[in-house]
Amino acid sequence: MMGLIILVGIFQSWNVALSIFNMCLISAVMTMGANVQWGYAGLINFGLMGYAALGGLAAVLISVDPVQEAWRAGGFDILMCLWLIIVMMLAIRFILKNFAKSNFRTYGIAAIIIAGIIIIRVTAEPGIEAIEAVNPATTGFLGGFGLPIIFSWIVGAFFAAGLAFVVGKVALGLRADYLAIATLLISEIVIAIIKHEDWLARGVKNVIGLDRPVPYEVNLQATEWFINLVAKFNSSKLELISNVADKQAALNQLVIEGSSVFVKLCYSGLFLVVVIALLIVTQKALYSPWGRMMRAIRDNEEAANAMGKNVVKQHLLIFILGSAIVGIAGAMLVTQDGLFTPGSYRPMRYTFLIWVMVIVGGSGNNFGAILGGFAVWFLWIEAAPIALFLINLFTAGMADTHALKVHLIESVPYFRYLMMGLGLLLIMRYRPKGILPEKIEIK
């Protein structure tokens, strides 16, 4: 796999190769999250998109500077609403605890929820309007805490874990395929909220220019030690040029290229740390008594229950853990891109593609998850060039203006779906356990 990426580096450019590598690392983290749920415990979670988006939201809320004006304009109303929501939750909890189950209780709770939504809307309305009116072209939202973005990786995990707790409480009792549908729909609700609540993170207007944990290219290009480093690396190439002016121009060019490679390398380093840390933790967990218990629950719920294991509690726990890992990946993704675009969260890309990675790589095997993340993302990116090559090969006999050939070349981007689908179907049919199947050695 690494060899393939290095080949891209040699034939296309190191820049492309490194960006593929970084995305592979992020995909690997997401896949590990899904693998913890599916491979360890057999829980099917089609809501990965929602958790990734929450991770991204965390990145925004942590790193952006607070918008003081907006806070003054509508901060009080929003805090008021938050307070109301907490009161509503406590009221419902109180009723659930203290009254026996009856129709009356159900209707009472429904009435509280409906009344609560109406009251919250009435309280929030002026605040939201005031906030969104504050300089709508650049801000129009509350902003964040102005902390280094790297913290958001942890906060994103907590956000996702919080959502997973609620979803798990609601939906984990369902049978497998219903759980899939329910989680998919809940994640759509989450995306809808992030998209349309502009006061929170500007909604579809996107947040751009997030702070970076690594240096900026422009600053690098002006730093002494970096220019020296580039010169040192390319000294043999530079020595061939005798003219001083030409030499300087060539060096400048190299510095510009080198700076973006260097930035991407910094990201790779950060992401690698996360992947390796997660790999160690998940491997340890897999072989621990806890991992053994999870497999027992996965393979035979009733038997595990009869042995005194609390299936419901363990399911909830692992659902939260897996979702938190996906949340980390979501925050990493936004950190790398430097922008948060709620409109780009689509189930195809953030749920089903990740599931293809899990199934292809091998469920229940962490190395399989990483391999799946790398292989599938690599194919996803390189599918278009491969398809173009194949089309040209098969239509070599046709004229360049032939309608069919032109049409096929225009639709090259969609061949990636075809490849993913065929790959998934073939793997499911001939290697249902994935490329690296689950392998448990009892030591």
């Binding site: 759509e188 609700i189 349309h196 998934l424 499911m428």
Partner: protein, 336 residues
């Protein structure tokens, strides 16, 4: 007079659109529920199969238009649908033979079949986009309106107009006819009864001599008919765009589960439940209250429960509530 105006307003903006949208969802929901009841898996390729059927309809419509065949006031697509259905049935049987049959014979768990259907979803989506492209297409021709808003106002002398598009009437009519035939088939014919028996208890059905291959084949044939007509109706009424069809899968699932999955009648009503609640909750009632309340009490805000951005969220929330309180749906489907 004001009361009449208010009623027309609701008819125009809520009732007619919701009935149309509900019919489109209902066809998809019956498709999902049949596959679930008889083949026992959640078919994630639903939306894309519908897109595929619509695509074939559009291609045949274009062909007819190019050789000059048309139905006059009716859209040409109606003529193309039967041919598209034949093609779609072939496609469904092809997919079943080469993909789903293997897992059915091996008695794989439903989750695995659902995963396989995701593979089918990817491939179908790719094929649709490669053949017809991802852009928005309208293929409606013929007379667009049955009653135009302006004409209606002149006719009745009311302030509010009522516009009825012919695509809406066609959708509702076709749905009613198709669904009645389907229920007649399922309840009265021998084949339909054997299908229901198979869905109820596979082993018992096999014991009483029902041929499973035949049941499965007929299920896919009905699925092909429903997918093509449901998709084409949606495309006629709104427009054809592969991405929207993929997204429609979600409210369709919601409709099928709300109605009680595995229960075709429930799915039929579930479609309307979802459509009506989506539109009821996101409609701004300001004008309605302006008509029925005296002037002094007129509301200042839009009187909208939720903004239209949350249209999908409404149906999903209903689904979550139903799953929590009545896991087998409003009309008793299979127990989860």
């Amino acid at each position: 007079m004001d009361l009449l105006n208010a009623i027309i307003l609701l008819l125009n903006y809520i009732f007619v659109p919701a009935l149309t949208y509900g019919s489109q969802l209902a066809l998809g929901a019956i498709f999902v529920t049949l596959i679930y009841g008889i083949l026992r898996f959640a078919n994630f390729a639903t939306g894309d199969m519908m897109a595929f059927g619509t695509m074939v309809t559009i291609l045949i419509t274009w062909y007819f238009q190019s050789i000059g065949i048309s139905l006059g006031v009716l859209p040409t697509a109606l003529l193309a649908i039967p041919f598209a259905i034949i093609f779609m049935i072939g496609y469904m049987l092809f997919v079943d033979k080469f993909v789903f049959r293997y897992y059915r014979v091996n008695k794989s768990p439903p989750v695995q079949l659902a995963m396989v259907s995701i593979g089918v979803m990817f491939v179908t989506q790719a094929v649709v986009r490669i053949i017809i492209g991802p852009s928005d297409r309208r293929f409606f021709d013929g007379e667009k309106f049955i009653i135009k808003a302006g004409e209606f106002k002149e006719m009745t002398g009311l302030n509010e107009g009522l516009a009825i598009k012919s695509s809406q009437v066609i959708t509702i009519f076709v749905t009613l006819i198709l669904v009645s035939i389907l229920f007649w088939f399922l309840n009265k014919t021998k084949t339909g009864k054997s299908m229901r028996a198979y869905s109820d208890n596979e082993d018992l059905a096999l014991l009483s001599g029902i041929d499973p291959k035949r049941v499965v084949m007929i299920t896919w044939i009905i699925a092909g008919i429903l997918a093509t007509i449901g998709g084409a109706m949606y495309g006629l009424d709104k427009s054809f765009k592969p991405f929207t069809y993929f997204n429609n899968m979600l409210p369709i699932f919601a409709a099928a589960i709300v109605g009680g999955i595995g229960n075709p009648f429930g799915a039929f009503l579930g479609g309307y439940v979802i459509a009506f609640s989506e539109i009821f909750i996101t409609y701004a009632y300001k004008k309605f209250f302006m008509y029925i309340l005296p002037e002094s009490m007129e509301p200042e805000s839009l009187v909208q429960l939720l903004s239209t951005d949350y249209k999908f969220a409404v149906s999903f929330s209903i689904l979550v509530i139903v799953l929590l309180y009545r896991p087998n749906g409003i009309f008793k489907g299979k127990v989860l």
